[in-house]
Symmetry: C2
Subunit: 243 residues, 2 copies
DNA sequence: CGGACCATTGACCATAGTCAACCGCCGTGG
DNA sequence: CCACGGCGGTTGACTATGGTCAATGGTCCG
């Protein structure tokens, strides 16, 4: 699980400073690998996990199901993300986590992590920061759903995902593979499936981006950001990386 | 500022265990009081504050303004809340905080708080938990905006606010004073002002609640929760308190 | 008394939702 | 081998929810 360690450290360094001893301490954490099949749940809504999940490969999504049966996706996660970090201090999962394509995760026991925080507060602060960025992403999702018209909403969603993927080195220039289907978009953006389809076409017609067959192609990043009113500040990444 | 200390400790104890020394350590924090006028900003979007805000009295709201000029409220805060706790580890405010009615806050220097975490990890964990509950509330807001029809959405909003106010002892039985106007509701729930008005009327007609003149009256809590599909689990409060 | 602000109402409109059919691709099994 | 079924995506016709625009009323305050 040395690869797990590298991915985790790389991600935390996107926003936090870690010294040699911090990195060393993170290496010492027990990391149990697990493969998750497409659409399989990694964490069940309502569970009380005693381990945390670090995503090593693939994509997972967090979601809630409400009484009407409708599913709402909350966020999408890429390699290095820690999609259930909040279980460190919130006992019960208020949502589920599922894999989109096939995913590889590492499981780390809570007690080890918390013991580590006491030894090395800086590691705790880095992970705390990770959870705060997570919250910042939710805030932006609130704005997206509450204040942005549909075209802008979808454009903004793709901007965020592309930007984050790029910061983590998961893109080819202008291209990004995402195991996301139109149904996921509907349940993320709060619109009907047919509207997703029509809005994707409208986005294609702008000439700025194209999403089909699980592939996102960015043709004109700057113009797309204009359409989306996208400003990556809220992601709090240290090295913006020119796009 | 002893009152500030009491309010803060009381709030943290809604979800976390603090021992005598923890409480004592929190008492030692410097707390500078400040009065905020109605609609005045407590924290400006884009600022890089070196102090954190603890709300002692009144209500504040967090919001973002997007390029179109539309304002989206993200959350509302009651006495004891720590509306900008994330500035402890995220340098730049991605949103603003404004007072609704008149509000009283206490300002606490970041450096003191962070030094305290190193001495007493448990206090850090309590405040970390506070920020995680904050994130849980944003997640629920995402679901509200993305998945719930308008009547349910508004009912859910009032359920949350009433439940939180009650947990903090800020309600009279079935009654809660909230300095919120219909315009705020529109920019919180992602609907037009006229729709707010009509939906409030629809809610009155259900006989479960009434909101007018800044007063929320709950007539039938259980039925209202049904309409709202409200389940307070996500608030992670220790003592649910029968309603 | 006049103006500002908030709430309310009515008439009309537009965006997105519902319903339903069809296409293309792929994997499976007769 | 090809037929079939399932799934994801696409399209069209119609509907409905909520938005826009505009006017009115009430209350508080200067």
């Amino acid at each position: 699980m040395d690869r797990a360690h590298d991915i985790l450290v790389r991600k935390l360094k996107e926003h936090s400073d870690l010294d040699e001893s911090d990195v060393e301490a993170l290496r010492s954490l027990a990391k149990t690998p697990r493969i998750i099949g497409p659409h399989e749940d990694v964490v069940i809504q309502g569970a009380k996990p005693r381990v945390s999940v670090i995503l090593l490969h693939g994509m997972v999504a967090r979601y809630k199901v409400i009484a009407t049966g409708r599913r709402q996706y909350l966020s999408f996660h890429l390699a290095g993300d820690w999609p259930d970090a909040q279980t460190l201090f919130l006992e019960r999962m208020d949502h589920g986590v599922c894999a989109l394509g096939e995913a590889l995760v590492a499981l780390v026991p809570h007690e080890e992590i918390i013991a580590l925080f006491k030894r090395r507060p800086n590691v705790g602060f880095a992970i705390w920061r990770e959870t705060l960025i997570d919250a910042a992403i939710f805030r932006e999702a609130v704005v997206r759903l509450g204040a942005r018209p549909v075209l802008m909403r979808m454009a903004h969603f793709f901007c965020e995902l592309y930007y984050r993927a790029r910061a983590s080195g998961l893109t080819k220039p202008g291209i990004c593979q995402l195991p996301i289907h139109q149904g996921h978009l509907a349940e993320t953006l709060g619109i009907a499936l047919v509207t997703v389809n029509r809005t994707l076409q409208a986005l294609r017609r702008t000439g700025t981006m194209e999403f089909r067959d699980e592939n996102l192609a960015i043709h004109d990043w700057k113009a797309l950001c204009e359409i989306a009113d996208f400003d990556p500040d809220y992601l709090n990444l240290k090295r913006p990386g020119r796009l």
